[in-house]
């Protein structure tokens, strides 16, 4: 028999609002992307064990958990979802609503709708929904709002630690504000300069910091084919970019192909998954530094 934590009426409410609960052990917190995991780790400190179960080499946007992993989400004390359509699997999975928080709801109005074809059944039928760009944290204002949602969710679970969470959130928000200032500076430097992205992942970065960014759909681990190069040529005619942002290192061959076209490759991880080195803040800072250097050099 599968054991289920016994719950009385008050306990269900406490799961959500957490009033008066005393912490006996660390919270088991599950997340579906690195930014939310990072925010939770920074804010919760040692009061929680934050788990991002997505394998390091898998994009959380494409990850589908096996049944056993879904069970760990169901049994977690708190499930912090990125929202904004990042993890599509969550829409087809049974998660406990009382312990699951969509950390993007505070900025639902700020989401960017992606281009795509919707459909309806019959002329009067309701439409299916168009997608939204999920990499919201690349706008550091939205990242701060997301961090606040994480802090609020943690405080509801552990109200006794609210002061600690508030202090940690303040420190995190300060880091994000510093990054934001740097990003604004880089955005000002890049003003009016056309930029490229290897994938449509930087919509929020572009909107927040005024980057003139167009995207292609190239894979970092695969050199571009003739059709992709033709499409790039056509794009460059109307959008003469000299810098292309990459989520991961494209490799020497692709760098050379682009270099021949006068395009510098800049690795700017979108940070959906945990970076190999550093953390959210250091990786973002390094990416901004690389972009600044490329802009200055170009």
């Amino acid at each position: 028999m599968i054991g289920r934590r016994p719950l009385d009426l008050a306990a269900v409410a406490l799961l959500t609002f957490g009033a008066g609960t005393a912490r006996a052990e660390t919270l088991d917190v599950r997340t579906d992307s690195y930014p939310v995991a990072y925010f939770a780790e920074r804010i919760a400190g040692d009061t929680a064990e934050v788990v991002l179960p997505v394998p390091a080499d898998v994009d959380p946007a494409h990850w589908v958990p096996p049944i056993a992993e879904i069970a760990t989400f169901q049994q977690a004390d708190l499930v912090l979802l990125t929202g904004a359509g990042l993890a599509d699997w969550t829409t087809r999975t049974s998660l406990p609503r009382s312990r699951t928080i969509d950390t993007s709801t505070a900025y639902a109005d700020a989401l960017i709708e992606t281009e795509g074809v919707t459909h309806s059944h019959g002329p009067e039928g309701d439409h299916s929904h168009a997608g939204v760009a999920p990499f919201t944290w690349l706008d550091l204002d939205l990242a701060t709002l997301q961090a606040e949602a994480v802090a609020e969710a943690l405080a509801r679970r552990l109200p006794g630690e609210a002061a600690l969470f508030e202090a940690n959130l303040k420190a995190l928000a300060a880091d994000l504000a510093t990054l934001d200032a740097v990003a604004e500076e880089v955005g000002a430097l890049a003003a009016g300069r056309p930029l490229l992205a290897s994938h449509p992942r930087y919509q929020y970065l572009a909107r927040r910091y005024g980057l003139a960014l167009e995207s292609v759909e190239w894979e970092a681990d695969k050199p571009p084919g003739p059709e992709q190069l033709d499409a790039l040529d056509a794009l460059l005619e109307k959008h003469p970019a000299t810098i292309m942002l990459w989520d991961a290192d494209p490799g020497a061959d692709t760098r050379q192909v682009l270099m021949n076209l006068g395009i510098t490759s800049v690795v700017f991880p979108a940070l959906a998954n945990r970076p190999a080195d550093g953390d959210f803040v250091t990786s973002f800072r390094d990416s901004l530094a690389s972009l600044r250097a490329a802009i200055v050099a170009g």
Partner: protein, 392 residues
């Protein structure tokens, strides 16, 4: 004494049909009121316990009785539908946890209850065999449903169309059974549980199909929207291969539920929450199931008292009829009794013989009634649940 009993038994056996009717009549006179009271008591216990464990129910304004019975016992009395936004409103209030319920559809005679995992925790339901709901399209069965339908994890069951004549209505969805709940002795044993989103798939709001743009009967196509014809085939089962094609149409806030169980943080939160639904113009109502059930029980007891009176009157008439049967029987047997007396049998022996016959008939009736009452008493909780669940 032995010979008296022997003669009485032989006489009753000779008139077996008449004897059986008298035994049945005696048994009914005793059993009917006893069974009625057993079932009333069991129903009261079931209703009171269930209502007491459900603090508040939010639903569309309408019959409070339909709302409570459907939410607590998954009866066929479906309240007007409301939207899942009602559940989010409760969450947003910060005053209570909200557990949406969508108890509208059936599968092989059992109610399908679409809800969230919080419901299982709220009711303390445990999976006895298999696992919890994990992905869209799965079903977990109550213990009685699993037993009656002979289903176990690995089997599947199909939702029933709401209306056979509604060609545009819901299509049956084949749902794999992934778990069977431990028996609770309550209405949850008789339900099929699915994720709320699966209930919306059954309703037709969510479905999966191939590329709409490649449909044969495309009605229109714009740059951002493809209008597929109604004949676009949709999947009748959610499998690992097609689950990614499942999607929902329309605004997610408008998706239907039949009710929302609200679990306030504390008494004060409950009072504040109830105050928010007092406005008669408000399309939603909030009810305290205990109050509604108390009102229903009061009515049931009034009806019970009326039934007692009717049964007592009928029982009196039946007793008189049986007495008349015995009297008429003796009248018919007057010649036989006279012959026995002339053969030398004492009047006291004849009286003992007739007394033994009456005692045997009454005794058999009492035993028969006891067997019936015992059998019903053993299953009275299930029977009461069935009666509660089958109210239409």
């Amino acid at each position: 004494m032995t010979s008296t009993l022997y003669l009485a038994v032989q006489y009753l056996r000779f008139h077996a049909a008449r004897s059986a009717i008298v035994v049945l009549a005696v048994a009914l006179i005793i059993a009917v009121p006893a069974v009625i009271h057993l079932l009333l008591d069991a129903s009261e216990r079931q209703m009171t316990a269930r209502a007491a464990s459900t603090p508040l129910v939010v639903g569309a304004r309408g019959s409070t009785l339909d709302l409570v019975l459907n939410s607590l016992y998954f009866t066929g009395d479906r309240p007007p539908l409301t939207s899942v936004a009602a559940s989010e409103e409760v969450w947003a209030s910060g005053l209570a946890a909200a557990i949406p319920l969508y108890a509208r559809f059936e599968a092989q005679g059992a109610p399908i209850v679409g809800t969230t995992l919080d419901y299982f925790e709220f009711r303390g339901l445990e999976v006895a065999d298999g696992r919890d709901l994990a992905v869209l399209g799965e079903a977990v069965l109550g213990a009685t449903v699993a037993r009656d339908l002979g289903l176990a994890p690995g089997d599947s069951l199909v939702s029933s169309p709401e209306n056979l004549f509604d060609l545009g209505g819901t299509y049956p969805l084949r749902m794999p059974v992934v778990g069977v709940l431990a028996a609770t002795g309550g209405p949850d044993d008789r339900a099929v549980f699915v994720d709320l989103k699966t209930a919306w798939v059954i309703e037709g709001i969510g479905h999966g199909h191939g590329e709409a743009a490649e449909a044969d009967d495309l009605l229109a196509r714009t740059e951002r929207n493809v209008v597929a014809g109604p004949a676009l085939p949709t999947f009748a089962e959610i499998t690992p291969e097609n689950i990614d094609s499942f999607h929902f149409h329309g605004s997610s806030d408008s998706y239907s539920v039949t009710a929302v169980i609200a679990v306030p943080n504390d008494e004060r939160s409950g009072v504040i929450l109830r105050g928010r639904y007092l406005d008669r113009e408000e399309p939603l109502q909030i009810v305290v199931p205990q109050d509604v059930v108390d009102g229903l029980l009061a009515t049931m007891f009034r009806i019970g008292r009326l039934i007692d009176t009717v049964v007592a009157t009928i029982a009196l008439a039946a007793v008189l009829a049986i007495a008349l049967v015995f009297y008429m029987s003796l009248e018919l047997r007057r010649g036989e009794i006279e012959t026995v007396f002339r053969l030398g049998c004492r009047r006291s022996t004849i009286l003992r013989l007739i007394g033994a016959e009456i005692a045997i008939l009454l005794g058999a009736g009492i035993v028969f009634a006891a067997v019936v009452v015992s059998a019903i008493a053993a299953g009275r909780e299930d029977l009461a649940l069935w009666l509660l669940g089958s109210w239409e």
